[in-house]
């Protein structure tokens, strides 16, 4: 890919991401007073995250699943993202040495 095409591609990608970032909020302004949507909206992010985590876990190696388990349990127990992520990444990097 030549440099000009690459930069055009990057600009288009950034536009797409920006539209989705702002678009959801702007589109949803119409729902602001609709309390009945609140319950559904609370559920959606968790569903989207499960759609990313579960396929990753099922396709992961033993060490990757171990890292995922350790990260999740540490996060649940300590509430510290830094500790949980460092432990998980430590296991991943350790597995590359085995």
């Amino acid at each position: 890919m030549n440099s000009q095409t690459a930069l055009l591609m990057i600009l288009l990608m950034s536009l797409v991401v920006l539209v989705t970032r702002i678009g959801g909020y702007v589109l949803g302004m119409g729902f602001q007073r609709a309390e009945r949507f609140k319950g559904v909206l609370e559920v959606l992010p968790g569903c989207a995250m499960m759609a990313l985590i579960v396929p990753g876990a099922l396709g992961g190696s033993t060490y990757e699943v171990l890292a995922l388990g350790v990260t999740s349990v540490t996060m649940w127990k300590t509430g510290s993202v830094a500790i949980a992520t460092i432990l998980g990444i430590g296991i991943l990097l350790g597995s590359s040495l085995v």
């Binding site: 690459a6 990057i10 989705t20 970032r21 609370e42 992010p45 396929p55 993202v81 830094a82 992520t85």
Partner: protein, 233 residues
């Protein structure tokens, strides 16, 4: 803004590591230093950027990259919808500016702040501060990855690819801790993802299917609880 930046500092470490991996992967995919840094500065989305690298070749697959960008970043629309009503006041410009820094950690910590009934903190500034710290760490990580590519072995680069899932799991735990009543719905969604993955359904279909399964489970639960309330004497 400082409060938001402080709250997101833990995620900034994992973002830095993820940016580091992106820098390394971008080099191996053939992007120049300028292209990789421009992409991190403007796109600022790990999942979209990594997906584009998978098909980054000549001739340029513009349509493929754009479609994958739309599908992957579609969850931003959901996050944007969830944040409706969380920014009191009439600062339209600042509200939109803060939304342009929308990421999963940023959205979830802002929601947690809203749930804590903290009325003193300016949530727009909180989200902007969180967005800035994550953007800076993403840029620094990308730069370091581009600079130190040669120090990492192939096996280490491959191993680090899974760290995106780790970051998502910390977000899921953070989110689930404050919403245990919705655990059943997320289990349904997770089971849907597992079944579709086992049957090797195309990855782009998994996200909307899981969201649909979760929403259907939500209405089933709502209907069941209404029926049980109706049976009470």
């Amino acid at each position: 803004m400082g409060k938001g930046a402080s709250a997101l500092s833990g995620f900034a470490i994992s973002t830095l590591m993820f940016g580091l991996m992106f820098g390394i992967a971008a080099t191996s995919a053939g992007l120049s230093r300028l292209e990789a840094l421009t992409m991190s500065a403007l796109v600022f989305s790990g999942s979209v950027q990594f997906a584009s690298l998978e098909v980054w070749n000549h001739p340029a697959p513009l349509v493929t990259i754009l479609i994958s960008s739309i599908l992957i970043s579609s969850r931003n629309i959901l996050l944007g919808l969830v944040l409706i009503g969380q920014f009191p006041g009439r600062d339209g410009f600042w509200r939109i500016l803060s939304m342009s820094f929308l990421t999963d950690p940023n959205a979830i910590t802002t929601l947690k702040l809203a749930q804590s009934n903290d009325t003193h903190t300016n949530r727009i500034a909180y989200m902007l501060g969180g967005g800035f710290i994550l953007h800076i760490s993403w840029m620094v990580g990308t730069f370091c990855g581009l600079t130190f590519t040669d120090l990492f072995g192939h096996s280490q680069i491959q191993a680090m690819r899974f760290s995106g899932v780790l970051v998502m799991s910390t977000l899921m735990v953070l989110f689930a801790k404050g919403n245990t009543k919705n655990a059943f719905l997320w289990i349904v969604s997770g089971l849907c993802a597992a079944i579709l993955t086992i049957f090797q359904v195309h990855s782009y279909l998994i996200m909307p299917s899981c969201v649909l399964a979760g929403v259907l489970a939500f209405f089933y639960k709502l209907n069941t609880s209404r029926e049980s309330q109706g049976k009470l004497p």
